[in-house]
């Protein structure tokens, strides 16, 4: 049961072979057994989860019409608010913060019948690519416990990869869903900016953040996004467009699909395994009738620099509220008001958060704004234009999700710039606001999973799911399970 896909678990419930309580119990037992070594979950409440499951089983027994995710356990990244449930953002500053309200996606998941299993680990405030920047310890990669699961949604990715839960929700600001999906050998999607409401997602960089799904296969991701996406008038940046039935069309192959491979990305220093997997993947698409050609994103090499100005600038502002006045950590020792702010924030934040808050504060300062923040906004526009131009020629843009496979814990902690550069291929989607999906497409020489990234036009998630599923049908990388 642990290795079943979300769709299989749904079907088995529908035909009465399995109950949600049984599924949920198995997940909870797996968490009990493996979470200590993985540290994927920060919070879970067995009684509460089983109660949710029982309720779904009762409703099913009563013949009620249930939502599309009925009875399926879902893990939630711990930067998404659930009313009354501690939401830490893996930060000391929110150690005891219990939001008095739930995020829009939580309401949607509940309406869809999902069982909210628990809250997963992340880099503090989603800042990082390894889940090592968590105040509650790093998460480990189920494929190799010495390796990172990636980040920042490392807890969610590891939980799905380790079969602790069939589905998980993450957030992606510069690759925080796609990179850990690639590192853990699962499927992860960042939807179009505005496709999913951010209401209740604790902001890191408001113009880049987007909530998205993790699953073991493309269909599971399609099912979960269908549950997450939809208009919410509490988020002014949320798009008021109908959500396609992704899970119903996912098995339909695309005729005459045109795929563009990003020329600039392949000029980078890539793991050999990644380069060859990329080539093999494109051969598979050709064999399915797709046209594969090179496309250029001329400003791609500026994306990391642009991202590390815009992201931290917005973060410096979004995180200013954690001052210990109204909620969150307040230092026990201070002299006056200013000192209270300094001490509370100094104690509450970890090193990476402090680094980015300082970067952003600097970039927005009088005298530097034009040279840094404003310039970054202009380059962001050029990067978006690159994608628009490329999408004139192709339907989907393909690239490796990451330049290398999951690295060992600790090796990158002291070299933040190398860590930042590892986001190179994923950042573009966030800057352009377009959707991107990562699917398993191979294994490196080190035995660690490799991800293939497909990027699409705004609001064309359906195209990405169908293109991804075409590939998935022909391969079995998604069936490879981590042996714990």
């Amino acid at each position: 049961m642990l290795s079943a896909t979300a769709q299989e678990l749904r079907d088995q419930q529908e035909c009465g072979e399995l109950s949600s309580v049984e599924i949920t119990s198995v997940c909870l037992d797996a968490i009990d057994e493996h979470n200590e070594k993985l540290n994927a979950f920060l919070t879970f409440d067995r009684d509460d989860a089983l109660q949710q499951a029982r309720r779904i089983d009762e409703r099913r027994a009563a013949g009620e019409t249930l939502g599309p995710l009925a009875g399926l356990p879902v893990a939630i990244k711990d930067n998404i608010c659930i009313e009354g449930v501690t939401t830490t953002c893996a930060s000391r500053s929110l150690e005891n913060f219990r939001p008095p309200y739930s995020a829009h996606v939580i309401d949607r998941l509940r309406n869809a019948g999902a069982v909210l299993l628990g809250k997963t680990n992340l880099d503090e405030f989603a800042m990082g690519s390894s889940t090592e920047n968590s105040a509650y310890g790093p998460t480990r990669n189920p494929h190799n416990l010495d390796c990172t699961p990636g980040g920042s949604s490392g807890g969610s990715a590891a939980a799905v990869a380790a079969s602790l839960v069939p589905l998980a929700v993450g957030s992606d600001t510069g690759g925080s869903i796609r990179q850990p999906a690639a590192f853990c050998g699962i499927v992860g999607m960042k939807p179009t900016y505005g496709r999913v409401s951010r209401y209740g997602l604790v902001a890191f960089a408001s113009s880049l953040d987007q909530i998205g799904p993790f699953a073991r296969d493309v269909t599971g991701a399609a099912m979960l996004l269908e549950g997450l996406a939809g208009y919410d008038d509490r988020d002014s940046t949320c798009i008021n467009q109908p959500v396609a039935k992704y899970s119903q069309t996912v098995d339909q192959p695309l005729e005459g699909l045109r795929i563009g491979v990003v020329k600039e990305y392949l000029e980078h220093d890539l793991d050999d395994g990644i380069r060859s997997s990329m080539a093999t993947s494109m051969d598979i698409y050709r064999s399915l009738g797709a046209e594969v050609k090179a496309v250029s994103l001329p400003h791609a090499n500026y994306s990391v620099a642009t991202y590390y100005l815009i992201g931290p600038s917005e973060a410096s502002s979004n995180l200013a509220r954690y001052d210990g006045v109204h909620y969150g950590h307040r230092s026990s020792e201070f002299d006056d008001m200013i000192d209270m702010y300094c001490a509370s924030r100094g104690e509450g934040f970890g090193a990476e958060v402090k680094r980015r808050v300082m970067l952003g504060t600097y970039a927005l300062s009088a005298g530097y704004y034009d040279a840094y923040y404003l310039k970054a906004l202009k380059v962001r526009r050029l990067i978006r234009n690159d994608y628009d131009a490329a999408f004139q020629e192709v339907d989907v843009i393909a690239s490796p999700t990451t330049p290398h496979t999951a690295f060992q814990l600790g090796v990158m902690s002291d070299v933040p710039l190398s860590m930042y550069l590892s986001d190179l291929f994923t950042i573009g989607c966030n800057l352009a606001g377009i959707p991107g999906i990562s699917i398993p497409c191979g294994v490196g020489n080190d035995g660690m999973p490799i991800g293939l990234q497909l990027m699409g036009r705004a609001l064309e998630e359906e195209t990405l799911f169908r293109a991804a599923r075409m590939f998935e049908r022909e391969t079995d990388w998604h069936q490879r399970r981590a042996a714990l």
């Binding site: 930067n79 998404i80 608010c81 939401t87 953002c89 929110l94 913060f97 939001p99 008095p100 309200y101 995020a103 951010r198 209401y199 209740g200 997602l201 604790v202 902001a203 960089a205 408001s206 113009s207 008038d233 509490r234 988020d235 002014s236 940046t237 600038s313 917005e314 410096s316 502002s317 200013a320 509220r321 954690y322 001052d323 006045v325 109204h326 909620y327 008001m337 200013i338 702010y341 504060t361 927005l364 300062s365 009088a366 704004y369 923040y373």
Partner: protein
């Protein structure tokens, strides 16, 4: 050697929307129940997001149109960042480089007698959210502060004038005229005690030296002036202080950075507030949580339709059309638009503007104050009062009788009865208040009274002038409503 005072005012006006600027919480002055009008959005909780209140934007545009400003087709929101406990997000959502309006003016009347006016430029008006309120309890060495966030997120329009005001008095007049305008627009209640109208003054002086030079002194911003009187007194004081300071230091504009002063209203002096540790840098940047706002010229036109007559125009019209004094017209207009409409309706019905003004500003206003209600809820409608006052004009009843009817109408309303215009005639008849204009009828009654009171008539004839009083009284009692003067004349004629 003399000097001119130069003043520019920054006025913050709370808009009277039902809800706050970026959330659905009530926008209501409620100091007795702190932190009850709050939600995750205005508390700045993690993950909460703002959504603009379109009504607040429309009221702001209406304000700017009345101030003759250009309305920007495209405007956006910026974050103004600073740390203070009454600001839970540690930034205020405001407008920086692209305010929704700019380049307007307000004409103020600087001389009552001559009617001389002056046009004061408006640099810009922008929309922003208010902060909460810190309450410092320092009794008994207590260092604790409390924060009330009821006000946090209330919509504010900040109106920034050009430094066109040339005296403390002009600054006061500008503020008074601005308040009158805003009240007539019904965009704000402009209650200075409750903080819905707040004022900061930028002040310096231009010294005119004996050798014909003009020297500007360093700029001072006086913060939080909470009454018209304080605005005038603080500027007055500050101008004198700057002149003395200039004589002592010789420092001129540009040599000293702009300083922030407070005003001690109890003791009547300005004082420099604690300098911030470093120059403030608010690190403004566009708020990524909010979409820019656009408006079409059709939409501006539609809002323009709601602006209506300015209080100055209305005052002038009232003076002319109803033959009112400037003072009476101002008293009416200062009561707001509904009250002005009420007056106008009464005036039209009764046909005597002066009478309508007297009744509305005295009798009606007194009752409103006693009942603590607005004109909309006053039981004697404009139609009823107009009909009643018209009867005075027709000599159907006396002013005294009208007052009696007015009181009866109010008493009946208080007793829960419905007070329709028809009640006016009914009460007049019930109380026999109608003036008897038929002198034949009147003379018959007088003859009867004189016949019955031969002794009194004799006394009067004998030179006892006071004797006529009881005779008049008896006649009046019988006819109910008669003009006592007419009765006296007839009696005197008959006796003589």
């Amino acid at each position: 050697m003399n000097y001119t005072t130069v003043v520019g005012l920054e006025v913050h006006v709370q808009l009277q929307t039902a809800t706050k600027l970026f959330c659905g919480c009530l926008n209501k002055f409620n100091p007795d129940n702190p932190n009850v009008q709050t939600c995750p959005v205005c508390l700045g909780l993690p993950g909460a997001l703002p959504v603009m209140n379109r009504r607040a934007y429309e009221l702001a545009v209406k304000t700017a149109i009345a101030l003759n400003c250009n309305i920007a087709e495209f405007t956006k929101w910026d974050r103004k960042q600073y740390y203070y406990p009454d600001l839970p997000k540690a930034y205020q959502i405001s407008q920086y480089d692209l305010p929704f309006s700019s380049d307007g003016w307000l004409e103020i009347e600087i001389d009552d007698e001559t009617g001389e006016t002056k046009r004061i430029g408006i640099i810009r008006a922008h929309l922003e959210e208010d902060a909460g309120k810190n309450i410092h309890d320092e009794t008994g060495g207590n260092r604790d502060s409390r924060v009330d966030l009821n006000r946090c997120g209330t919509p504010l329009v900040e109106i920034v004038s050009q430094p066109d005001l040339s005296s403390a008095e002009e600054a006061r007049i500008y503020l008074e005229d601005l308040r009158r305008l805003l009240k007539s627009l019904e965009v704000s209640d402009c209650n200075m005690q409750e903080g819905s109208l707040r004022c900061d003054a930028n002040v310096n002086i231009h010294v005119h030296t004996d050798d014909g030079k003009t020297i500007a002194t360093p700029l001072v911003e006086i913060k939080n002036l909470n009454s018209f009187r304080n605005v005038e007194m603080a500027i007055e004081y500050e101008a004198v202080r700057q002149f003395q300071e200039w004589q002592e230091t010789g420092k001129t504009f540009g040599e000293v950075l702009k300083r922030t002063f407070g005003w001690n209203a109890d003791r009547g002096f300005t004082f420099e507030q604690r300098m911030k540790e470093e120059a403030s840098d608010y690190r403004y940047f566009p708020d990524p949580d909010l979409m820019p706002v656009t408006i079409t010229s059709e939409q501006v036109g539609a809002i323009q339709q709601t602006v209506g007559e300015s209080p100055v125009d209305m005052r002038k019209r009232f003076q002319e059309a109803y033959e009112l004094s400037r003072y009476d017209a101002s008293v009416i207009i200062d009561q707001g638009k509904s009250f002005s409409r009420y007056f106008e309706s009464v005036g039209k019905k009764c046909g005597n503007g002066k009478s309508a003004a007297n009744w509305t500003t005295q009798d009606v206003l007194r009752e409103l104050n006693e009942r603590k209600i607005e004109i909309e809820l006053f039981p004697v409608t404009d139609e009823t009062l107009g009909i009643l006052l018209h009867k005075i004009e027709l000599d159907e009843i006396t002013v005294k009788s009208a007052r009696e009817v007015f009181e009866i109408l109010l008493a009946e309303a208080d007793a829960g009865k419905s007070v329709t215009p028809a009640r006016v005639d009914a009460i007049i008849d019930e109380k026999n208040l109608r003036i008897v204009s038929d002198t034949g009828e009147l003379e018959k009654i007088i003859n009867e009274v004189l016949r019955k009171n031969e002794q009194i008539v004799a006394d009067f004839r004998g030179g006892k002038q006071g004797a006529i009083g009881p005779l008049i009284g008896q006649v009046m009692r019988q006819v109910g409503a008669a003009d006592a003067k007419v009765v006296r004349e007839i009696i005197v004629r008959k006796i003589d």
